[in-house]
């Protein structure tokens, strides 16, 4: 695939919705080790709202991504949801009026979204958050597997302590454990690409 259209966005979203539902309990359990154990359930409720909005997406990638941001903003105020909201809104602004984007440009849009998410959250790279998973993709050479990159980053950060978000409350306990947000990001990318991580 050399370009990405709204039709591809539909397909990716359907895959992410299905994968989120498959992984609800896994994400809840991971989150319960460091937080309140509702990450999977939160994302399933977000996925349900997005599923209901799929038909309303227009043939404009920018407008569609901003619409997805609004849908998330209507249902959840969790930190993970808020980050998604910021990233989608930022990417939507960059892609305003475009019906397709090249896969190479996708990476640039990804970087723009990551920059916006870092600025809005106040988190830093290295804090062991989903943003580190996103950064591994932003820094990777073109056409490598995004699933493999995020999976490798999860393993890289496993021995480190969380320094941002609610998991920082359990910073010592987070050592040796996977960051729930990073794993959720991995599951979403698995859903979007159809590839499964070797883990």
């Amino acid at each position: 695939m050399n370009s990405f259209s709204v039709r591809d966005l539909h397909t990716a979203l359907e895959g992410m919705i299905a994968r989120t539902r498959e992984c609800e309990e896994e994400l809840n359990a991971l989150d319960a080790e460091l937080g309140d154990g509702d990450l999977g359930s939160t994302l399933v409720s977000v996925a349900g709202a997005i599923e209901q909005s799929l038909e309303s997406l227009v043939d404009d990638l920018g407008a569609s991504l901003r619409q997805l941001s609004k849908v998330i903003g209507g249902i959840s105020g969790s930190s993970f949801s808020s980050l998604l909201m910021v990233g989608l809104s930022s990417a939507g602004t960059v892609l305003h009026g475009k019906t397709t984007v090249s896969t190479d440009d996708c990476l640039q849009v990804w970087r723009t979204a990551l920059t916006a998410m870092l600025a809005a959250s106040g988190a830093r790279l290295g804090d062991k958050t989903l943003l580190d998973g996103m950064d591994s993709i932003a820094q990777a050479p073109p056409r490598v597997s995004w699933v493999d990159e995020v999976n490798r980053t999860i393993e890289l950060f496993r021995p480190k302590a969380c320094r941002a978000g609610r998991a920082r409350v359990a910073a010592e306990r987070s050592i040796g454990r996977d960051d729930p947000g990073m794993v959720a990001m991995l599951r979403l990318i698995e859903g979007a690409t159809g590839q499964r991580a070797a883990r």
């Binding site: 939160t42 903003g73 105020g77 969790s78 808020s82 359990a170």
Partner: protein
């Protein structure tokens, strides 16, 4: 888990429903989710509206400080998770009385993102809105990194001065400035003895082993500055005051606001033991306490422990802080 609840899923909504039923003269619920808490009687048109919001589980913060002389609207989220952007947008609309809206929130990543996005949309639609972010928790980052500190109990001082100012017709810019100055002058530190339990999880998200305590722990259990054996109350107060006053221009003759706050389970008796020492130390320094506040103001469900907030006042801040309000939760002794 031993909690007086029906089901974890209804924890927030049933607690809010009870608060509204008990204080019909103060609060009303609005919004698509029913989690937008507004005043029972709206403020007069032409006044600045005040909005806050955040995760649930800290009552009376945040929703309890809606009321005459305080806030106009509060967007309530889930337990320890902030409100949705739509809920915040509804709060901005509900609070707007034609003179702009001031948002005062604590410094938490999710809340900051959601409120900022909603405020930007509100501004783009032609409305005036400003945001002030509370960051009074001195244990959450060193002083040079004040901007990254969390907002905790001292946030309510900013609610009060801005609320009193808005009530008598100050402009949005003056309300913003006075709230920001109150935040600038407010410092808080807490000490936790035991954790709280999130209803959906059923067990503590962190542990404080045996007889130990955590100095500087945040209201969600964020790590503090030290973890060690319990000490006598006076020794704890001395350390907390030492840390607070190291950052504040408090000297003989100063007039200060003091909040001695229970984190939830700590009873009023122990708070008075703490306050006794606070008053003693400040009196020895020649400092006057203006309207001491001792009680449950910003909590973390059943977490045991207390926080102390200090804020040196001036001729502008003091009258606003002590201006009367019929709020059931703003009590000064």
């Amino acid at each position: 888990m031993k909690k007086l609840i029906n089901t974890p899923a209804r924890y927030v909504d049933e607690a809010l429903a009870g608060m509204l039923a008990a204080h019909r003269e103060t609060f009303a619920a609005q919004g698509r989710s029913g989690r937008l808490i507004v005043r029972a009687r709206s403020k007069s048109p032409g006044r600045v509206g005040l909005v806050t919001g955040g995760g649930f589980g800290h009552l009376p913060l945040f929703a309890g400080y809606v009321g005459e002389g305080l806030l106009d609207a509060c967007a309530v989220g889930d337990v320890f998770a902030g409100p949705s952007r739509d809920s915040v947008s509804e709060a901005l609309e509900a609070a707007d009385r034609g003179a702009g809206v001031l948002v005062i929130i604590g410094n938490y990543g999710g809340d900051r993102m959601v409120f900022t996005m909603a405020a930007e949309e509100w501004r783009a639609a032609g409305h005036a809105v400003e945001i002030v972010i509370g960051n009074d928790d001195i244990a959450s980052a060193p002083e040079p990194e004040r901007a990254s500190r969390r907002g905790v109990a001292g946030l309510i001082f900013a609610f009060k001065v801005a609320g009193a100012a808005a009530e008598v017709g100050w402009s949005l810019e003056r309300c913003r400035a006075v709230a920001a100055r109150m935040v600038e002058r407010t410092r808080t530190i807490g000490v936790a003895l035991s954790p709280c339990i999130l209803p959906a999880r059923g067990k503590p998200t962190f542990e404080i082993a045996g007889e130990s305590i955590e100095m500087g722990m945040g209201i969600h259990g964020e790590k503090g500055v030290w973890h060690g054996p319990l000490k006598p109350a006076d020794a704890l107060v001395d350390e907390m005051l030492e840390r607070l006053t190291a950052e504040l221009p408090i000297e003989a003759g100063s007039r200060v606001a003091v909040l001695c706050n229970s984190l939830g389970a700590t009873p009023i008796e122990e708070l008075y033991i703490l306050y006794r020492r606070i008053a003693e130390v400040l009196d020895q320094r020649g400092v006057t306490i203006v309207r001491p506040m001792v009680g449950h103001y910003v909590t973390s469900m059943e977490m045991a422990g207390a926080s102390i907030s200090l804020a040196p006042l001036d001729q502008e801040l003091e009258p606003l802080l002590i201006a009367p309000t019929p709020s059931p939760f703003w009590k000064s002794t």
